[in-house]
């Protein structure tokens, strides 16, 4: 059966988090790899069931924090000792203990911004349009329902066979997701 290019994938709806995790596990054992699971709250097991890797986010935050730290200190050093040296009560121009609070705050600020912007960027947000929203029942993904979507890009995807497979997982409903 030929793949229809206008289809994004097939989506099965479940009522329990355990059912979704089981369905994801079984789909992976069946050989599907390009899929995503949607839930109204974070489920730790789901991420493992999808076979995802660790996120690079902690590294991004570390780099952001280090840049903030070095940048904050360099700014104060340059401004106080090079660009605008002022003798305040005989203190040295490079009076490092006085520079610590601002260096600390810059570290925090840059790390926090990297955490938030990094998370949004890695998640591809903001994303104004996504095919999964074409399924009307998907509105419940932010309330009390759990969804597994096997995408048409998956090499093993076949509209009929995949639908039959999803039906075996005991879902509440299987819907076709238009692209």
């Amino acid at each position: 059966m030929a793949r229809t290019p206008t289809i994004y994938g097939l989506m099965a709806e479940f009522e329990e988090p355990t059912a979704l995790v089981n369905a994801t596990d079984l789909a992976r054992r069946e050989g599907y790899s390009v899929m995503d699971a949607y839930s109204p709250f974070p489920i730790e097991e789901l991420h493992e069931a999808l076979g995802s890797h660790h996120t690079r986010l902690p590294l991004i935050v570390l780099v952001g924090g280090i840049l903030g730290c070095v940048g904050g200190y360099a700014l104060q050093l340059w401004a106080s000792a090079v660009a605008y040296p002022i003798n305040v009560g005989g203190r040295p121009y490079h009076s490092w203990p006085a520079f610590i609070p601002i260096t600390f705050e810059c570290t925090i600020l840059a790390a926090a911004l990297s955490a938030v912007l990094g998370m949004l960027a890695l998640n591809g947000l903001p994303m104004p349009y996504h095919p999964v929203f074409n399924v009307p029942r998907f509105a419940l993904a932010s309330r009390n329902r759990f969804f597994l979507c096997i995408e048409a890009k998956d090499p093993k995807f076949d509209l009929e066979a995949t639908r039959r497979f999803l039906e075996t997982l005991n879902p509440r409903e299987v819907s076709t997701v238009a692209d």
Binding site: F41, E44, C106, I108
Partner: protein, 469 residues
């Protein structure tokens, strides 16, 4: 007594066997939690109480606009502060507001790291409270500079004047600490809101609601990959915000302790200020939570357990603050420096002595009632104590600032301070601004984190016995 009556009738009072009230009432499911919290924003008719509350606080906000406008026109001579009391009301209010903010970050960050599930139903509005309190706090130093339109000189940027800010000054540290704090609190709050904004987008009946919440939700769809990064980011933010919350009031205390003024120049200041900040912050959370929970019928989510735990935090931080008072006294005596010895003597016998005794009553005596379970279990009792502590913590900052400044070294340079109508208008105006923002928040955003409430429901755990692989 009403609380006796409640102890018997309230089904939420205890979990069988533990003697502790639950963090969420039994019988809730993913859908009931979602519907109940989102209904406040989406479907429930806006009550007369909301309009009255918002109306009054908005009028007070207008008073703030008047006070600040007149200040800009006339200059800070309209306030009562003058040499030697140069700081007075404005810095008192600044420290008070910023201290209140600390409870929000503590609840969202530190309690998250400590895996305290009871934080879940109070973190959202505590964070909102933080943001609004920091907004009120930030206003004071800004208008206190005298020429607020030149405040941008505090920012380090290359300019044609060829000058740079003085980074050795605690005032600069303040600028960085407070602006970082405001930014990180806003990020934390917004990131926490993201999945709930998606819920509102999906549940909103009106087109306007769908569009606005939809834009704010950034297309959040609850993907497992997204949740994983989201949780990592949230945890990292909590880890980053934890040292931040401690640092902010430390830096605020540096404003005082770096100066050589007796009564300010003390190493106890940073821990003493941080404890005081958390103390006043929890008092404010209780002040807000108790009426909100009653007005919106949220007793299922903000249970007695939350109130009791907050009361315990208040008791502990209150005792640390009392320890700070004792250390101040002891160090003054132990220093054998007559100017230092004079500070507590002047506080106890000088012109501001009544305020000092009031402060001791509010912060040291009244909260001792929290040792009793009966008081901790009574919302009304807690509300009264929380109000007393709010007043006490304001008085504490007033005493620290005014009594230290008004009589320092040379009696010829001594003076007195009394607030003018404009000092009061500005202060009361910020309370109005704070409450007006809070009313808007309650009306337009979910005041309890819906998705986190789902995670603490029994059904949220994946049942390992039912796993197929």
């Amino acid at each position: 007594m009403t609380e006796r009556h409640e102890e018997i009738d309230d089904p939420l009072h205890t979990i069988v066997g533990t003697g502790k009230p639950p963090v969420i009432a039994p019988g809730h499911t993913f859908s009931t939690v979602t519907d109940k919290i989102s209904a406040i924003v989406l479907t429930r008719p806006t009550g007369l109480g909301w309009y009255a509350g918002f109306g009054i606080s908005f009028l007070l906000t207008l008073l703030l606009f008047v006070a600040v406008s007149y200040l800009v026109v006339e200059g800070i001579g309209i306030w009562g502060n003058n040499v030697p009391v140069g700081w007075a009301f404005e810095i008192t209010n600044f420290v008070w507001w910023i201290g209140i903010g600390h409870a929000g970050t503590l609840i969202s960050a530190i309690l998250l790291l400590l895996k305290q599930t009871w934080r879940t139903s109070i973190n959202r509005f505590a964070e909102a409270m933080t943001l609004f309190a920091v907004a009120c706090a930030g206003l004071f130093p800004a208008i206190h500079t005298g020429r607020p339109w030149l405040d941008y000189w505090l920012l380090p940027y290359p300019n044609t004047m060829g000058v740079w800010p003085q980074f050795r000054s605690p005032i600069m540290w303040d600028v960085f600490a407070v602006s970082t704090y405001a930014t990180v609190s806003a990020l934390f709050w917004y990131i926490g809101l993201l999945p709930d904004l998606a819920t509102l987008r999906d549940r909103s009946q009106s087109k306007t609601g769908r569009v606005i919440y939809g834009m704010l939700a950034m297309g959040w769809r609850g993907s497992a990959h997204h949740w994983h990064r989201y949780e990592t980011a949230y945890l990292l933010l909590a880890g980053i915000a934890t040292p931040l919350v401690v640092s902010v009031h430390t830096v605020v205390s540096f404003d005082f302790s770096i100066a050589i003024l007796p009564g300010w120049h003390a190493t106890i200041f940073p821990p003493y200020f941080v404890a005081g900040a958390i103390y006043s912050g929890f008092a404010m959370v209780l002040t807000l939570a108790i009426p909100i929970r009653a007005a919106y019928g949220l007793e299922d989510f903000i249970t007695l357990r939350h109130l009791q735990n907050m009361a315990k935090v208040m008791l502990v931080t209150g005792l640390i603050v009392v320890y700070g008072y004792m250390t101040e006294m002891f160090m003054a005596w132990y220093s054998a420096d007559k100017f230092e010895v004079f500070v507590p003597y002047n506080r106890l016998t000088g012109p501001y002595a009544p305020y000092y005794y009031a402060l001791l009553f509010c912060n040291a005596v009244a909260p001792q009632a929290l040792w009793f379970r009966r008081v901790r279990s009574s919302p009304i009792g807690l509300f009264v104590i929380a109000i007393i502590v709010n007043i006490g913590m304001w008085l504490e900052r007033f005493i620290i600032i005014v009594t230290s400044l008004h009589r320092d070294f040379m009696p010829s340079a001594w003076g007195r301070y009394a607030p003018t109508i404009w000092d009061w208008s500005t202060f009361v105006g910020t309370i109005g601004l704070f409450l007006a923002l809070l009313f808007l928040f309650l009306r337009f955003l979910p005041m309890i984190s819906i998705f986190e409430m789902r995670t603490i429901l029994p059904g949220a755990k994946v049942d390992e016995d039912l796993r197929v692989i």
